[in-house]
């Protein structure tokens, strides 16, 4: 009987020692975890001013866009079925939009099957018409969003914003800010395959 007691004591002492070592190494484990998450975040070059869109992998919201050039004509989701669509929110008063504007001509030339929609967000019709007259119109369809209600559905908060919708009607990409050739080549082009 005495031997068993000795073994029990040794056992519980060993367990206690193990517990203590475990608790002591806890800080290091936590530090490593936190550091790896931070490192991954930094390396992914995430921009604190550009949050990922809430609409990623969601269906395209219900839209009914009046044509800028023809008040009678409307575009709805039905018209976009089976199409790959690039939606660009812009306005005549938005300076960075002017910078990215020429790029859309190139895009349209290289990818004629890509349906390009421009949405004129919170703008005056005359100003928009003048803007497109001067800079040219690369879009297949230009919709009017005078009050910003369409932008609201897309979670737009700063112009320009560009969305890519695949042929199943899901939003698969969003870009905040003026689109550049580099971004298009690196991020949008791979998704077009």
């Amino acid at each position: 009987m005495a031997r068993r007691d000795d073994n029990d004591i040794v056992w519980s002492y060993r367990n206690k020692k193990k517990m203590k070592k475990l608790i002591l190494s806890l800080p290091i484990i936590i530090i490593l975890l936190i550091s790896s998450f931070s490192l991954i975040y930094l390396l992914q070059k995430k921009d604190p001013n550009k949050p990922p869109s809430a609409l990623l992998d969601e269906n395209l919201p219900e839209i009914n866009l009046v044509n800028l050039f023809n008040e009678e004509e409307m575009l709805s989701n039905y018209d976009l079925k089976e199409k790959t669509v690039l939606i660009n929110f812009f306005a005549s008063w938005c300076a960075p939009c002017k910078v990215e504007h020429p790029l859309f001509f190139d895009i349209k030339k290289k990818y004629p099957s890509l349906y390009l929609i421009g949405i004129d967000h919170k703008d005056k019709k005359e100003d928009a018409l003048k803007y497109l007259n001067v800079g040219g119109n690369p879009y297949d369809y230009v919709g009017v969003d005078k009050k910003g209600s369409v932008g609201l559905e897309f979670g737009v908060f700063g112009l320009p914003e560009t969305f890519l919708v695949n042929s199943s009607g899901k939003i698969i990409y969003k870009y905040l800010g003026p689109l550049t050739k580099k971004v298009f080549e690196n991020e949008i082009k791979p998704l077009l395959k």
Binding site: I31, L32, S35, F37, S38, L42, K45, P48
Partner: protein, 569 residues
């Protein structure tokens, strides 16, 4: 600094952040108003700590040498950081005669002293870490070590308290939203070492007589500076959105992260292998001083962990799910504040508790006090505007202030009047905390806001006060033009004061800032912010912040008490 004073724009840092028309005070303090300059200040303060520590005559030589060694190694780590990623001595590549100017909201006296004071606190914990590492390796964590570490920790912590308070006070009168704490990541980052430092200070002060909890003290000592470094990483890497943004750069971020891993990893590894497995028995009763101390530590650490979790949670979630969430004031108010409640409650009687027994001397008095205060605060909240947080805050504050005052009376006959402050330091510190809690509760829960449009000569009534728009004036100052709108505050037809909110236009940066006009009074602050002007009517927002000055008073008492604690044996 010379380059700043002379407005020598061949230095790139001066070019980016200064201008010849900037007032001299801000030319000097602008040295540390930017990332590179502030790191230089960091290094300077680190050296000063090492210098002043070297004058210490009480520690054994080997302990002293090893501490200085570690401090110097830490210094080199940060020098490397500055050298490789944050060099303030770069030359401007072109010849230029003028600078880009400093952000106007940073041109302010409180914000000028805020970084130095904050760093004296923050950076000072590096010395505490060095002491801990040296003590661990030489196995010399004894009474002498505890006393020296206690003094240095008290000093750093007091300075850090002042730095944080200055920052909050500045936010209060400058940012114009009537508040002083937003749970912004940068604020959280300064609060975490403060809380850890507070736990450490308590444990060091109370454990002098019976050297228990050695391992815990060393752990806390390492934790404080680890939190400082991690905080610096969070802020300088640009990884979080904050109101207080430095020019962020991911290469800087990665460098500091590596520094953090190296320094903290090394320290904790030493901790694992070298900390003594002390089998001392703690005399724990419910409730005596030892268990109260442990509860204090638990509450502080859990609060600190919660703040850390809340601050980095968005990063973790975005890495895993690519969705961004926000963790802001609602979260922290609903978690940290309830967690601190038991700590505050205990704080009212803790210094009076004894080590040996769980008897509280003259217990009946405390009981009567508790009941009276609870009734008093119920009445107060009932007659003003009933709110759960208001009730809790006021009750706690009254209990803490009351019980501490009671304890001082109980102590009255036992000592020489000369040593009043030293003997009652703990009680006085807690009274300070109670006053601050009162201020925090009343100014947030009972704050009132009024919006009005007034034209010149018009008055508006606010309770028993009235505010009259007297007139406007334009002033030309050094580097800005100011449009002052002056108001007269009346209390029942008697003029109390003039309040002058304004809008400033800074020529160089072409920015317009809105300066709040504040009338400070013990019972409440009147805080006026200008909106826009339409047809000769000014839109204004008026805040009444009851008892807000109690916050600054309470914090000042805490700082003084911390410094006095250094003298205590």
């Amino acid at each position: 600094m010379f380059c700043y004073v002379l407005s020598d724009f061949s230095n790139y840092n001066v070019f980016q952040n200064s201008h010849s028309s900037k007032p001299m005070l801000y030319k000097i303090t602008g040295t540390w108003g930017n990332h590179e300059g502030s790191m230089l200040l960091w290094l300077l303060i680190m050296t000063f700590y090492n210098l002043f520590f070297s004058f210490n005559k009480k520690l054994d030589n080997d302990l002293k040498k090893l501490t200085i060694f570690f401090q110097a190694s830490l210094y080199i780590c940060f020098v490397l950081f500055v050298l490789f990623t944050s060099n303030p001595f770069l030359a401007t590549s072109i010849e230029i005669n003028e600078g880009l100017g400093l952000n106007p909201i940073l041109q302010d006296p409180a914000l000028a002293i805020h970084p130095p004071m904050l760093y004296i606190g923050y950076v000072g914990f590096s010395l505490v870490l060095s002491l801990a590492l040296a003590g661990l390796i030489l196995n010399k964590i004894d009474t002498k070590w505890i006393k020296i570490t206690k003094n240095w920790t008290l000093f750093c912590w007091s300075m850090l308290t002042g730095g944080i308070a200055l920052g909050s006070y500045w936010a209060y009168y400058e940012l114009g939203w009537g508040g002083w704490w937003f749970w912004d990541p940068v604020e959280n980052v300064s609060l975490m070492p403060w809380i850890a430092g507070l736990a450490l200070v308590h444990t060091l002060m109370i454990t002098q007589k019976e050297q228990l909890l050695k391992r815990w003290i060393v752990f806390l000592s390492i934790l404080c500076f680890s939190l400082s470094i991690f905080g610096t990483f969070l802020v300088r890497s640009g990884i979080l959105t904050s109101v207080h943004s430095f020019a962020a750069d991911s290469s800087r971020g990665i460098f500091i992260l590596i520094l953090f891993l190296v320094i903290t990893g090394f320290s904790f590894i030493i901790f694992i292998f070298k900390s003594t497995d002390s089998r001392e028995k703690l005399n724990l009763l419910f409730i005596n001083k030892s268990s109260a101390l442990i509860i204090n530590n638990i509450v502080m650490l859990v609060a600190c962990i919660t703040i850390l979790l809340g601050t980095i949670y968005p990063i973790i979630i975005e890495v895993i799910t690519n969705k961004r969430i926000s963790v802001g004031a609602p979260y922290f108010n609903m978690t940290v504040l309830p967690i601190l409640l038991p700590g505050f409650l205990l704080m009212s009687v803790a210094p009076a508790l004894s080590w040996q027994s769980n008897k509280l001397p003259k217990f009946k008095n405390y009981l009567i006090l508790f009941i009276v205060m609870s009734i008093l605060s119920s009445l107060i909240t009932y007659f003003t505007h009933f709110n759960a947080w208001g009730f809790i805050g006021i009750t706690l504050a009254l209990i803490v202030i009351g019980a501490s005052t009671l304890s001082i009376f109980h102590n009255y006959t036992k000592y020489n009047f000369k040593y009043f402050f030293l003997h009652n330091n703990a009680f006085i510190a807690h009274i300070g905390v109670g006053i601050a809690i009162l201020g925090v509760t009343c100014s947030s829960v009972f704050q009132t806001e009024h919006r009005h449009s007034l034209s010149i000569g018009e008055s508006v009534g606010i309770g028993e006060y009235s505010l009259k728009l007297e007139g406007t004036k334009i002033l030309e100052k050094n580097n800005y033009q100011e449009l002052l709108v002056s108001f007269s505050l009346y209390e029942k037809d008697e003029v109390l004061s003039k309040i002058k909110p304004s809008k400033r236009y800074y020529h160089v940066s072409k920015m317009i800032t809105t300066e709040a006009g504040i009338y400070h009074h013990w019972f409440q602050d009147f805080y006026i912010v200008l909106g826009g002007q339409k047809d000769n009517k000014w839109d204004i927002k008026i805040y009444q912040n009851p008892l807000i000055n109690f916050i600054w008073l309470g914090v000042m008492i805490m700082i003084l008490s911390g410094l006095i604690g250094i003298r205590k044996k």
